[in-house]
Symmetry: C2
Subunit: 247 residues, 2 copies
DNA sequence: GCAAAAGTGTTTTCCGTACACCCATGT
DNA sequence: ACATGGGTGTACGGAAAACACTTTTGC
């Protein structure tokens, strides 16, 4: 085994929807490097710990869930970042994780953070390390996964209305969707939503029905955002097109 | 910085289409652990080397391209694997990379491998470490990317016919596609294919036209494989559904 | 001529979009 | 009564599936 050893960290892109805008959980660093700067929450992987354990442990610490298992939500690996100069302390590889959560109370900082806050993704300050790129990758992943999966329900509490769900899509994609067609799409997709018998009274207008998430995870056919009419899209940030040469 | 240090390796899922079947490049390990077992090609990340550099360097070594830049193809990061017991030598994190290449001559082993060979993905022997999972993730990624990107051309040589391209889809998806609808779909998608003036003579039937890859990278609307009629799909192997609890 | 493969046209069907319309509640 | 938001019905258009048909070669 070679002697090129790395420290391995996990960084979390924790997304939620608050007041109809997509927000990300940021922490203010309480120790160098980048002391006082904003950053994504994260931490080093402990011995005998798997990556996803580190991620869910840190997620619990930052979002307030005491024990290991958190609220209804979603956690998936994003990508790894290991540019040689990304951390002034030395060679650190960071594995990005994407977490989608329903709206939560204000976070209480943990794991060496001086402060933590929900921040609208369009208003994020400059971030420490290469966290800006990790965040961008996470947001792009979330946007595209809403198209062909039922992951939007991960942003919703246990029971929610169709309008709640639509506002999730509108916040993440920053578009507006036709409420009537949206209603039909999600209620007619088998396994997406399970209706309850409860109606929500108290608001203006006809009381909406509450739904729970169904067993389906994929959406076929997908729900497309506006931008998808053109025949081109940028290659994903970490894709590498190998250069062309004579065979 | 904590003292939990990892060795960091890159492992490659190198895919190509030979004789109308999807193949993966395997090596026979020339050193312990797992000496004599089949495995994915890979290697440790050198100091000052970025992940993608390691991946493209090892790809060049194994597929015969002398210098850094390889043939036309595609290389992208898959995911990272770091279970504590995945390597008997100690704590090793492996970053999986997916490479798509046109059909190549038989490989010449490099980087400490005893042998190397193209192996049909349906006939792979048991692999060392957790390479079976990395391979499965890579194949699944390739299958799904053919749906909504133009990446299938990465499996084709510089110039190719529409039928060549269709055979790529059929091999990767293990389905058969209607040649006539396929033809219209790919030739009418703007930026997918650029026609040349050359016709290929010598075969039976009307000589087909040669095409080159176009500038488009995304396919909208996507090309769907058969299985996508049902409303469900398995969650991706590395996704984690957070358990549910009281808020 | 005949078989085989390339490529085009036509019909049907599905689905997304747009929008008219009805339903059920608060004020 | 009326405004407001929930929810349904319906017409239109674009694209995919299915398949008949023409084109162009080798034999």
């Amino acid at each position: 085994m070679r002697g090129n050893l790395f420290a391995v960290a996990v960084n979390l892109v924790v997304l939620t929807v608050r007041s109809d805008r997509l927000h990300v959980l940021l922490i203010e660093r309480g120790e160098p490097p980048f002391l006082g700067h904003w950053a994504l929450p994260g931490g080093f992987v402990r011995p005998e710990e798997d990556l996803v354990h580190t991620a869910s442990r840190r997620l619990g610490e930052e979002t307030g869930a005491d024990t290991g298992s958190a609220v209804c939500g979603h956690l998936e690996q994003l990508a790894s970042y290991a540019a040689p100069d990304r951390d002034p302390r030395g060679r650190v590889l960071s594995v990005g994780y994407l977490a989608l959560l329903p709206d939560m109370p204000e976070p209480t900082p943990g794991g060496g953070a001086a402060a933590s806050a929900w921040c609208a993704v369009d208003d994020v300050p400059p971030l420490a390390f290469d966290h800006q790129r990790i965040l961008a990758d996470g947001v792009e992943r979330a946007k595209s996964k809403l198209e062909y999966t039922t992951l939007a329900v991960s942003f919703c509490p246990d029971e929610f209305t169709v309008t709640d769900l639509r506002r999730v899509y509108e916040a993440v994609w920053e578009t507006s969707l036709d409420p009537r067609n949206f209603q039909r799409k999600v209620t007619s997709t088998d396994g997406f939503l399970v209706p309850t018998t409860t109606l929500v009274t108290g608001g203006r207008g006809r009381p909406p029905r509450l739904f729970r998430r169904g067993p389906a995870t994929a959406l076929h056919p997908p729900m497309l955002r506006e931008s998808h009419r053109a025949g081109n899209r940028q290659p994903a940030p970490h894709d590498t097109e190998l250069h062309h040469s004579v065979e």
